[in-house]
């Protein structure tokens, strides 16, 4: 008996088309989200601009993130730090008024965390700052950002978007700079 799959295909063709369209759609939707909706650039409670502070006015990073040079975490400045300048500076702007309302209510500003490492990575700012690694190496050109976005100036110099904080970023830099024990597992995973 002659068995042919053609009749079966004829029956299945609409279903196969459907499957293909769905798969393509899924990938497209996923890609679109990843590319055009930078989830790693959320809207913050106050539209604080690093571009104005660190870029235009050249405030050093460590002026606000004071702990980066002595602690594992860089630290977010206390509300009092912002108020210290803004009692005098740009007091009429709406965002500054918003800031002052937090201050007057003695409420902390609920900043949304953008730069995050998994808990199994032991990273310390202190060592990197003391080794004169520029903040921008990992945090990208923060001084140009109105809203903080995860991006890094990777070692080859090209800006990366998306989620660049993979282990390769750490390792390539550690290799290039010949960090002592820099590629040892236990250096970061301990």
């Amino acid at each position: 008996m002659n068995i042919s799959i053609v009749p079966a295909l004829k029956v299945l063709r609409p279903a196969a088309m459907l499957v293909i369209v769905i798969l393509v759609g899924l990938v497209l939707g996923y890609w679109a989200n990843a590319t055009f909706v930078p989830g790693n650039s959320p809207e913050q409670p106050i539209a604080f601009s690093h571009k104005i502070h660190a870029g235009d006015n050249e405030v050093p990073c460590l002026y606000c993130h004071t702990q980066a040079r002595r602690s594992p975490s860089a630290g977010v400045p206390a509300v009092s730090k912002c108020v210290g300048c803004h009692l005098e500076v740009a007091t009429e702007k709406p965002q500054i008024r918003l800031l002052m309302s937090y201050w007057e209510n003695r409420e902390p500003i609920p900043w949304i965390k953008v730069h995050d490492l998994p808990d199994f990575v032991h990273f310390t700012h202190k060592r990197h700052v003391l080794a004169n690694i520029e903040c921008q190496t990992c945090h990208g050109p923060v001084e140009t950002m109105d809203r903080i976005t995860v991006s890094s100036r990777a070692v080859n110099g090209s800006a990366q978007v998306g989620h660049p904080w993979k282990m390769g970023l750490c390792l390539s830099c550690h290799r290039e700079n010949e960090v002592v024990n820099g590629i040892d597992c236990l250096t970061c995973h301990k």
Binding site: R13, M17, L23, G25, L26, L28, S71, P72, A78
Partner: protein, 761 residues
């Protein structure tokens, strides 16, 4: 391209649209959950996020007064270790001290002031404000004081030292009340009295374990609970291994092998209560052999005439050759040291026993010697009178309460309902007092009977200071500072007392707003005693440096010259111990000992301590009675058999643990479990041997002879499985899990040398 009809096309477009949306959402769901960075409103000065901050303070988990160093992070206490700069603890800390964090974070802490409502069975506590609580107490204090009836106020506290003790004292002086009692179950009253008799000062000397070559310990479990166990452990290690050419030798004399006994080179079981007689037997041999040549030799010969080795061997059950051998090596090895305490001091002849131990030190010239017994100078802290309350003082207080002589009782940090035998009828006496105020941090058995609870901070949240007794040959002090902000709506004990003082109109005499201010006032006087260099830096710098270092010392040594009052020699002699109950009805002597985990029961609410196996038996969670294997065999008992233990004053039911290193006619139960209150971890676990103790006293001090109760043992036929880490029964003898506990190992290794079965009473 296949033909697609309109219907097909719309289907595909619809499916495509939905799948694009699904893909979009899939990515969205895969994103990390949103986290927040909540900054401070005002930057704190004393910590940085991500960085450890260490605070030096003082441990209050037992009376030893070790210096501690607490690691805090983001304002939370994370770890407690010993403070390396503190001469007592020198960077070390015991398990109970380490578990202090669980007192701080304990879920059963009292979080706000409370007042009792209702009577009897329906009684419960309702939350009140501090103002309400303080006003209720303060008004009545003020009334009593105004009516010049302040002596109707009693203040009962745990043994405190330093400025808190001074504060309590001046508070009671304002009321004109002499009823200030420092009560701790394990306070060595007999040791103080013995030192008063022998040295003429009611203080503890410094026992220089580190430099000694031979230590005879008469019942003192110095590595576990006796006076300053962390410091003694340091000395023990130094004596054993710290010196290149010398290895210190340790002999332990006690009826039940303690942790110190397990660590000793030789363990000698003497009949309970005869330790002092044994000491005098040694003394007799030393004098008789001509090894003492002092001017008062004649007096000694007379005093010790009755304590010939034969007579002593008869009374103590220790063979003659052991007595003479120990006496000879005690003379030949210099420096040597004899210490006494623990169960040996808790007999009807406790003071005489410890005087005998002092005499032994005197005869071989150990007093004032390095590696011997160094007399401490006056403590550097504020001068306070002695308020140590023995058992009989507590009974007097209870009696006064029953007579209606007490209107207000303030209780701070001590739990007499748990640590007094029922014969004292303390709980019943509390019911007779119109206003019982507890300053405890936990709802312990005593606090549960209080009318008003004004919960105090734990020691990690409050200000205080401590001048450890004994010092380490010189005076040591340390300030206890808050290492974290208070977790709950509690207040420092000192702050509460100062507030009450203000409310009763004593603010002119006690003008300080809080404990910190009072401490600074007190330490300013210590500062003014300093040398010119100290004075030049100013008080603030001095205060900061004391807080930073966590320790302060005055290197003036105690006097080394010591002359013995000749009257003492004539009075030396140890009577045979008395026991409660007849030997026929109660064939066993109960040996209650302080648990290494719970001290006198205060550690039982700490889960770390509950789950820590007892070092000698490896049992966790619960109580047991230790029975000699010979006794167990005679009675047909094995591990886990439930027995009823009956004394003339009560009965307990507890499982048997067969313990080779105990005399056949002695049974031992650890103290610390058996709580009826004190939080979820302590409540309803094990038994409290204090409940069956007879109220037999040492006559000089009124100290409870807690090791002098006779009991009998009745098998009940019931069985429980003891929870312990070693000896899994399911391995059916294959020894799959290799295990050992200290007690069993030591005694089996020494089976040939320890005459366990020879000793009979």
């Amino acid at each position: 391209m296949p033909n697609i009809d309109r219907r097909e096309f719309l289907k595909l477009v619809g499916a495509g649209g939905v799948s694009v949306g699904a893909g979009f959402m899939l990515r969205e769901a895969n994103k990390d959950p949103r986290e927040y960075l909540i900054p401070h409103v005002l930057a704190p000065e004393d910590f940085s996020s991500g960085l450890d901050t260490f605070y030096n303070s003082v441990c209050s988990m037992c009376p030893a007064g070790c210096g501690i160093s607490v690691r805090t992070r983001e304002g939370r206490a994370k770890k407690i270790e010993g403070n390396p700069a503190h001469p007592v603890s020198q960077g070390r800390l015991c398990t109970l001290g380490q578990a202090g964090l669980q007192a701080l974070y304990n879920p059963d802490r009292l979080t706000a002031p409370m007042r009792r409502t209702g009577e009897g069975e329906s009684a419960s506590f309702e939350e009140i404000t501090w103002e309400q609580g303080l006003k209720q107490v303060g008004d009545r204090l003020d009334l009593l004081r105004a009516a010049r009836r302040g002596n109707r106020v009693a203040f009962l506290t745990q043994g405190v030292r330093g400025h808190l003790a001074q504060l309590f004292e001046s508070f009671m002086r304002q009321l004109g009340s002499p009823r200030l009692l420092h009560y701790d179950f394990d306070h060595p009253h007999t040791l103080y009295a013995a030192n008063q008799q022998f040295f003429g000062e009611s203080r503890l000397p410094y026992y220089d374990l580190a430099n000694t070559r031979l230590l005879l310990s008469f019942g003192a479990d110095y590595l576990n609970n006796w006076i300053s166990p962390v410091h003694h452990s340091l000395g023990f290690g130094e004596s054993r291994q710290g010196r290149a050419d010398v290895r210190g030798r340790f002999v332990q004399i006690e009826p039940r092998m303690s942790i110190s006994g397990a660590a000793a080179d030789e363990w000698i079981p003497a009949k309970p209560g005869t330790e002092g007689i044994l000491a005098l037997g040694l003394a007799h041999h030393i004098v008789a052999e001509g090894n003492y040549n002092g001017a008062d030799l004649g007096a000694w010969t007379n005093a010790l005439a009755d304590y010939t080795p034969d007579a002593v061997a008869e009374q103590t059950g220790v063979p003659v050759n052991t007595i003479t051998r120990l006496a000879d090596s005690f003379v030949d090895t210099t420096p040597s040291l004899a210490i006494g305490g623990g169960a040996a001091g808790n007999h009807s002849n406790g003071v005489d026993t410890l005087v005998a131990v002092n005499a032994l030190n005197y005869l071989v010239g150990n007093i004032g010697q390095e590696g011997g017994l160094v007399l401490n100078p006056e403590p550097a802290g504020p001068a306070v009178q002695q308020h140590r309350a023995s058992y009989s003082a507590m009974v007097e207080l209870a009696e006064a309460a029953r007579q209606g002589e007490i209107d207000i009782l303030i209780i701070s940090g001590t739990n007499p309902v748990f640590t007094l035998p029922p014969a004292a009828e303390f709980a019943e006496a509390l019911a007779q007092i119109p206003l019982v105020v507890s300053l405890s941090s936990f709802l312990d058995e005593t606090t549960a009977l209080a009318d008003v609870i004004l919960p105090s901070h734990t020691y990690l949240e409050s200000w205080g200071d401590d001048f450890p007794e004994p010092g380490v040959g010189f005076s040591v002090g340390a300030v206890s500072q808050p290492v974290v902000s208070p977790l709950y709506n509690t207040r420092g004990t000192g702050d509460i007392i100062l507030d009450l003082a203000r409310r009763m109109g004593s603010s002119s005499v006690m003008p300080w707003q809080n404990m910190e201010e009072f401490l600074k006032y007190g330490w300013r006087r210590i500062y003014q005693r300093g040398d010119s260099q100290t004075l030049a830096q100013g008080f603030d710098a001095f205060w900061t440096s004391v807080l930073k270092a966590g320790a302060w010392g005055e290197t003036t040594n105690g006097s080394t010259a010591f002359t013995l009052n000749p009257d003492v020699i004539a009075g030396i002699g140890v009577a045979p111990p008395e026991f409660s109950g007849s030997e026929e009805d109660y064939p066993f002597i109960l040996h209650p000992y302080l648990s290494p985990n719970f001290h006198d029961g205060r550690g039982a609410n700490l889960p770390w301590m509950q789950e820590l196996p007892d070092p000698m038996t490896s049992v966790v969670y619960g109580s047991w009675v230790e029975v000699n294997p010979v006794t167990a065999e005679e009675m047909g008992l094995s591990e886990g058999d439930l027995v009823d233990i009956q004394s003339p004053h009560g009965q307990l039911r507890v499982p048997v643990f067969v313990y080779p290193a105990i005399m056949p006619n002695v049974i031992a139960i650890p103290i610390g479990q058996g709580h009826g209150e004190y939080g979820r971890y302590a409540k309803g676990r094990g038994v409290n041997p204090i409940e069956i103790l007879s109220p037999l006293l040492e006559p000089i001090t009124g100290n409870l002879a807690s090791s002098a109760t006779r009991v009998n043992l009745t098998p009940t036929g019931g069985r429980v499985k003891l929870v312990k880490t070693g000896g899994v029964s399911r391995d059916l003898g294959r020894d799959i899990v290799q295990h050992t506990s200290l007690g069993v190992e030591v005694s089996s290794a020494a089976d040939n040398s320890i005459p366990i079965t020879e000793v009979t009473t």
